[in-house]
């Protein structure tokens, strides 16, 4: 690595100094995620009123909508770290992207499954080829492609850079895919929350959803920081500092 210690915040770009920070942050983000999940579920399952048309089935949105938001958000964050890793040639940024991918794929999968379960009572079908479901499915394929490319390359540095190029090509394509699928077919209801018009849902429902969204966000941060520690430990296993931080079990 090039010496970058002249600029203070580049110090954290070194795995050796980021590792202890990640370790210290995980419990905080994990605890915040747990508290917010409990609060969000309490609002969503107990406080929020039953929907006049959909009954209690709508309550799945407290999982579904945050998962769908996170699935797209994490892809953008991943692409951001990929851009950083290509521009500054930093290993840590690539490791963060690598750590984000499984969580993003998990949220995408969760959004698809909860969407299907919600679709059955709401529309009478588990799966309809509408714009958002289809582009979410394609997003899942993009995550799988990213992870598969990483796994297929043995040299970690080549894997970092090749998968970064792929993620950047993917992030340019995500809006194109979304709009192409949208023009192709739309029977999904309009967006439940939009910034341009007044929300159509009760305030308690919106609150519950936002709390759950923050819970999902903090969970994603906690699990990514945890996973990045494992990635650092694996890739830096031949350095002396990692031996001091991770005591050998055998």
């Amino acid at each position: 690595m090039r010496p970058m210690s002249a600029i203070a915040w580049f110090k954290l770009a070194s795995p050796a100094s980021f590792f202890p920070l990640a370790r210290r942050l995980v419990p905080w983000f994990g605890a915040a995620a747990a508290v917010l999940t409990a609060a969000g579920l309490w609002i969503g399952l107990i406080v929020a009123p039953t929907d006049a048309q959909q009954g209690d089935a709508y309550r799945i949105i407290f999982i579904h909508v945050p998962a769908a938001w996170m699935s797209m958000f994490i892809y953008v964050v991943m692409a951001f770290w990929c851009a950083v890793s290509l521009t500054f040639n930093t290993r840590l940024a690539a490791m963060l992207a690598q750590a984000l991918a499984p969580t993003g794929a998990m949220f995408t999968f969760l959004a698809l499954v909860t969407g299907a379960l919600w679709g059955k009572p709401a529309w009478g079908t588990y799966w309809a080829w509408d714009a958002r479901m289809t582009s979410e499915l394609i997003l899942l394929f993009l995550y799988f492609g990213y992870m598969a490319l990483r796994n297929a390359i043995d040299d970690p540095r080549r894997a970092d850079r090749a998968s970064a190029v792929l993620a950047l090509v993917g992030v340019v394509n995500v809006p194109i895919i979304y709009f192409s699928v949208k023009w192709w077919n739309t029977l999904h209801q309009g967006a439940s929350v939009s910034l341009t018009s007044a929300p159509t849902m009760a305030v308690t429902m919106l609150t519950g959803m936002l709390v759950m969204a923050f819970a999902a966000w903090f969970y994603a941060i906690a699990i990514t920081l945890l996973r990045v520690q494992a990635i650092i430990a694996e890739r830096e296993k031949n350095t002396s500092w990692i031996g001091e931080m991770v005591p050998r079990t055998r």
Binding site: I138, R161, L166, V169, G170, S180
Partner: protein, 238 residues
């Protein structure tokens, strides 16, 4: 005096990008012409995949007419995917790709040439033969021409996007299946606009918007894809 020299340098650099493009197009076309049998196999693959569909779903005219545009476009995507390793694989194996990357001429221009040659040797014949296959599916003559036109605009985009995937998977063990996983999701918009153009014409809306979107995708890919593919080639050669 110095100013003149600098300008002269600029001018040679511009022409060198174009000359690099022309040189690499001609080189790859010459190589393609020497393996004509291989090109014929790619085209036959397209014809055979298309032929399988009536055998699977039945030969009712109405059904085939409804499925036709989609089947012909999906088969074009698969044929493009099958031929993608041709762009870089042999040059990578015998080391000439490394020499190309070391050349003073800009790598994206040289790669654009390779992509152009790939399209001329695989996408173009596929587009030209498609009206014939369209007739087999009971598409009208106008629909057949529209299909060919859509493929003429759409298949270069497939080659351009595919080149990125081909470069990223250079020299990897799980090349073929991995390439499909990386590239097919990116092909989705082309498939939608391409097959959609015929649907739109049938609905009486006119295929203009779809063809315009296909052209827009082509123009964006022409600018961006060679840069991404060049970056991927340099990563693979490191």
């Amino acid at each position: 005096m110095m100013c003149v020299e600098v300008m002269g340098e600029e001018a040679t650099r511009d022409s060198s990008a174009l000359r690099g493009f022309a040189w690499s197009t001609m080189r790859d076309l010459r190589l393609a012409m020497r393996s004509r049998a291989e090109l014929a196999v790619q085209l036959l693959f397209y014809v055979i995949v298309v032929t399988l569909f009536p055998l699977a779903v039945g030969a009712e005219t109405a059904l085939l007419r409804a499925l036709g545009p989609g089947v012909l476009w999906v088969a074009a995507l698969l044929a493009s995917l099958l031929s993608l390793p041709r762009i870089f694989a042999t040059d990578f194996a015998d080391g000439s790709l490394e020499q190309i990357a070391l050349s003073t001429q800009p790598l994206p221009a040289l790669i654009s040439g390779k992509i152009a040659a790939h399209w001329i040797s695989t996408g173009l014949p596929l587009a030209l033969i498609s009206p014939l296959l369209a007739a087999q599916f009971g598409l009208s003559r106008d629909e057949g021409w529209l299909l060919a036109l859509g493929l003429l605009i759409g298949t270069p985009t497939l080659s351009l996007l595919g080149a990125i995937g081909a470069a990223l998977t250079l020299g990897l063990r799980s090349g073929g299946g991995l390439l499909a996983l990386l590239i097919l999701p990116l092909y989705v918009p082309i498939l939608i606009f391409g097959a959609g153009s015929i649907e739109a014409m049938r609905a009486g809306l006119g295929a203009g918007p779809q063809l315009a979107l296909l052209t827009a995708a082509l123009l964006v890919a022409m600018v961006g894809a060679p840069l991404a593919a060049a970056a991927a080639v340099r990563i693979a050669l490191d």
